[in-house]
């Protein structure tokens, strides 16, 4: 097979897809084979994602923009669909794979047995995520959003149960409405631009006449609402903590990246479509992102304090993370964007680890398990899925100590305390807000920045208060009758691995930030991206066949 | 001449079918029983199938034929399901 490197770009979409589909041919009892195939493909995915990142970014390429464009069906841009690999998308791919592998391994402990087709759904979720990050076409983005959402519905509902079904119902209803808004927005944009390719849109939008401009803005605004729902902006985000808390732990762990898809799209499209407009930073859209982000941080903070279960707490942490990112995007400054990207990576890893950890800790209280048991018992028919619940791996000694350490690490990460990457992330954002030196030096700092500063600090504090509250209750003052949670090695290793990644992020903060800065620079100056896409030529045939151009 | 005759015939037929659809709708809305509504829907399907056939004549284009074919061959499935629901309380036993 002619596997020239350019086909690597589509591999993040195809690998999970093919693996997931092949699993459909395996019997449900061949669980070990299924597990092997899906873990293996996720490892391959991780390797390829890292390779792709290396293709678009090497340390000495920080000042040039390398992109790889993949023309699906070999049709020339901007007519058909293409995939575009740039720094941002490759970073999101790596992040996705980095979350996927631990979540998947974690699920092997017990969750993948809680229902059928877990691995397929999981892999197809990865396909949806990767497709959404790679695609350079607005409608294709919708399609991959739907792939991702459909799989996420399946993963939220995985194992069924009252909580999950109730949460799933709300989640699905709201996301269905969001999808409809997405369609309306895309349709309006198409009606005034006549194109769907993102790069082409970036060229056409500034040239639109005044009458159509209103329509375009209306479409873009409706589209943004769809993205903001997914990103979890207040007041469109009440479903999020409930859903994430109800979702099975490995699902929630991979969902940590899902709210970031909304952020990713907002960041990419707003800068691509409107970034060339010098008035954009002061525009209403940017302001809404900024203030909405601040409101979201506030609400997340309040929720973090008010949450009674760790799951909801983690859900509200997602909101804080989203709010911070939205507000950062709303500031439309390259430095802030770079900081926000670092924050995105760090907080995603931390939240993912937290969701898995919570389940392990709660296992002591035996809540999740009992919910599952009730469902299975209530409806008479025996379930072959749960019959053979044998232990894979070894239960680890000093469980509480290990869990406690991980919990502490999560607290530190989410509260933005040193020494893990949560601190660095918060610092780089704050530092960018008050960018020292050269251009900075503003004697007047706008009130919003103060608010942002205060909220960043206060949200960290609230996280600290809430997590110390529950951490102390869980680890330091365990109720008498709590059984020691039975935690398997393959469940705690993923958590530890994610936390170690944040440590790596901290230690390697320099190179990582250089990458983020380069990413932010290309986002804010998308000319090379646009030209790179538009100039891509179709492959010419070795043997004569009708070609394009 | 041909064109005029055909135009009037087609227009009359379309309007007649349109009115027929309205009448079917009236039955769908007024009921009074579920079976009346189902009957109304079935008639609406059939009338619209005819409308599409006439539309095909009007446009001289046979591309719209499939839609009539589908209503004709498969449109009854929905009605069957509705009727069975009324009769058995369950669509598939």
């Amino acid at each position: 097979m002619n596997l020239s490197p350019e086909h690597l770009v589509i591999a993040p979409v195809l690998i999970p897809f093919i693996a997931g589909v092949l699993l459909l041919f395996l019997d449900d009892r061949a669980r070990h084979v299924k597990a092997f195939v899906s873990v293996l493909s996720t490892i391959v995915l991780l390797v390829i994602s890292i390779l792709l990142l290396c293709i678009v970014h090497t340390d000495n390429s920080a000042n040039e923009d390398r992109i790889a464009v993949y023309l699906l069906g070999n049709w020339p841009p901007p007519f058909a669909i293409n995939l575009v690999l740039d720094r941002l998308s490759s970073m999101m791919l790596v992040l996705t794979a980095m979350l996927a592998l631990p979540s998947l391994v974690f699920s092997l402990g017990r969750w993948h047995k809680a229902g059928v087709h877990f691995h397929t759904l999981f892999l197809l979720l990865l396909m949806g995520l990767n497709g959404a990050f790679l695609t350079g076409d607005l409608f294709n983005l919708f399609v991959f959003f739907e792939v991702m959402l459909a799989a996420s519905y399946g993963l939220v509902l995985h194992g069924s149960g009252l909580l999950r079904v109730k949460a799933g119902l709300h989640y699905i209803a709201i996301n269905l409405v969001a999808s409809l808004l997405f369609l309306i927005g895309v349709a309006l944009i198409y009606s005034v631009t006549g194109t769907l390719n993102m790069a082409d849109l970036a060229i056409r939008i500034p040239q639109i006449n005044e009458a159509n401009r209103t329509m375009l803005e209306s479409g873009a605004a409706i589209l943004s609402v769809a993205f903001l729902i997914k990103a979890g902006m207040w007041p469109l985000n009440f479903w999020l903590p409930t859903t994430y808390a109800a979702a099975p732990a490995p699902s929630a762990a991979i969902f940590a990246i899902m709210s970031k898809v909304g952020i990713y799209v907002l960041l990419r499209l707003s800068l691509l479509f409107f970034g060339s407009d010098p008035g954009f930073p002061e525009s209403l859209g940017a302001q809404i992102l900024l203030y909405g982000g601040l409101a979201t941080i506030s609400f997340g903070t309040v929720g973090v304090l008010a949450s009674q279960t760790p799951g909801r707490f983690a859900g509200f942490s997602v909101l804080i993370s989203s709010g911070t990112l939205l507000a950062s995007i709303g500031l439309v400054q390259t430095e802030v964007t770079a900081g926000a990207l670092f924050y995105l990576a760090s907080s995603t890893l931390a939240i993912s680890a937290l969701f898995m950890l919570i389940e392990l800790v709660e296992r002591g209280q035996n809540m999740a398990a009992s919910v599952l048991a009730v469902t299975m018992e209530a409806f008479g028919y025996d379930d072959e899925e749960t019959e053979n619940e044998e232990i894979i791996g070894v239960a680890i000694p000093r469980t509480i100590a290990v869990l406690g350490t991980c919990f502490a690490a999560c607290t530190i990460l989410l509260a933005g305390l040193p020494p893990l990457s949560g601190f660095i992330a918060k610092f780089v954002i704050l530092n960018a807000l008050f960018s020292p030196g050269e251009s900075g030096q503003m004697h007047f700092i706008p009130a919003t920045l103060w608010w942002f500063l205060a909220l960043l600090i206060f949200s960290g504090l609230a996280t600290l208060i809430a997590m110390s509250r529950s951490g102390i209750r869980t680890f330091w003052a365990p109720p008498v009758d709590t059984a020691l949670p039975r935690v398997l090695l393959i469940e705690i290793v993923p958590v530890a691995a994610l936390l170690c990644m944040t440590l790596v992020l901290t230690i390697q903060a320099g190179p990582v930030m250089r990458f983020m800065e380069a990413t932010a620079n290309s986002l804010h100056a998308p000319r090379p991206y646009i030209e790179g896409v538009m100039k891509t030529q179709s492959a010419v045939l070795p043997q004569p066949m009708e070609t394009t151009e | 001449m041909s064109a005029t005759i055909l135009f009037w015939a087609v227009t009359t037929a379309q309007i007649a079918l349109g009115i027929a659809m309205v009448l079917a709708l009236a039955r769908m809305i007024s009921g009074p029983r579920a079976q009346d509504r189902v009957l109304g829907l079935d008639t609406l399907y059939n009338n619209s199938m005819l409308l599409m056939l006439v539309f095909g004549i009007r446009t001289g284009n046979s591309l719209y034929f499939e839609i009539s074919l589908i209503i004709g061959a498969l449109g009854f499935v929905a009605t069957v399901a509705l009727a069975k629901f009324l009769m058995r309380g369950e669509v598939i036993e």
Binding site: - | S2, L17, A20, L50, G72
Partner: protein, 141 residues
């Protein structure tokens, strides 16, 4: 009306005739559906549309396209065949459902479950209909 002007007048007239017959019958049928008072009367009405209503318009279409395309185009007739075959299914099912519902509601205008016997007394109908049927069955035996 792309090709309308090219049509020979006989074809035009035939087409117009069948169109009007078909549409007219369909309209009458739908009017009946709307107008008639009892459900069992109403089920007769739409068959106007599904029989000659459909046939008329399908024939008009066949003539039109056969003349325009100068070859025999018959596929519209298939529609008529399918409609003819499937309409009874829906009507049978529907009327049976209506009958069932009317019987469980002790509607006196419908035939009894045992058509060879007389209608049961009103007093019996008020009771559990199942019991009534049971008695009826035994008596018959």
């Amino acid at each position: 009306m792309n090709h309308a002007a090219d049509l020979p007048i006989w074809a035009t007239l035939l087409i117009a005739l069948f169109l009007l017959i078909g549409a007219g019958l369909t309209l009458v049928g739908s009017f009946g559906l709307y107008h008639l008072r009892s459900f069992y009367d109403r089920i007769h009405a739409p068959t106007l549309g599904t029989s000659w209503g459909t046939a008329g318009i399908a024939i008009a279409s066949v003539i039109y396209f056969s003349v325009v395309e100068s070859q025999l185009v018959l596929h519209q007739l298939l529609i008529g065949v399918f409609v003819m075959a499937t309409t009874p299914v829906t009507l049978i099912l529907l009327s049976r459902a209506a009958l069932y519902r009317d019987r469980t509601e002790n509607n006196r205008d419908v035939p009894p479950l045992h058509p060879l016997r007389n209608l049961p007394q009103a007093s019996e109908l008020e009771q559990d209909s199942m019991a009534t049927h049971k008695n009826a069955g035994e008596e018959q035996k």
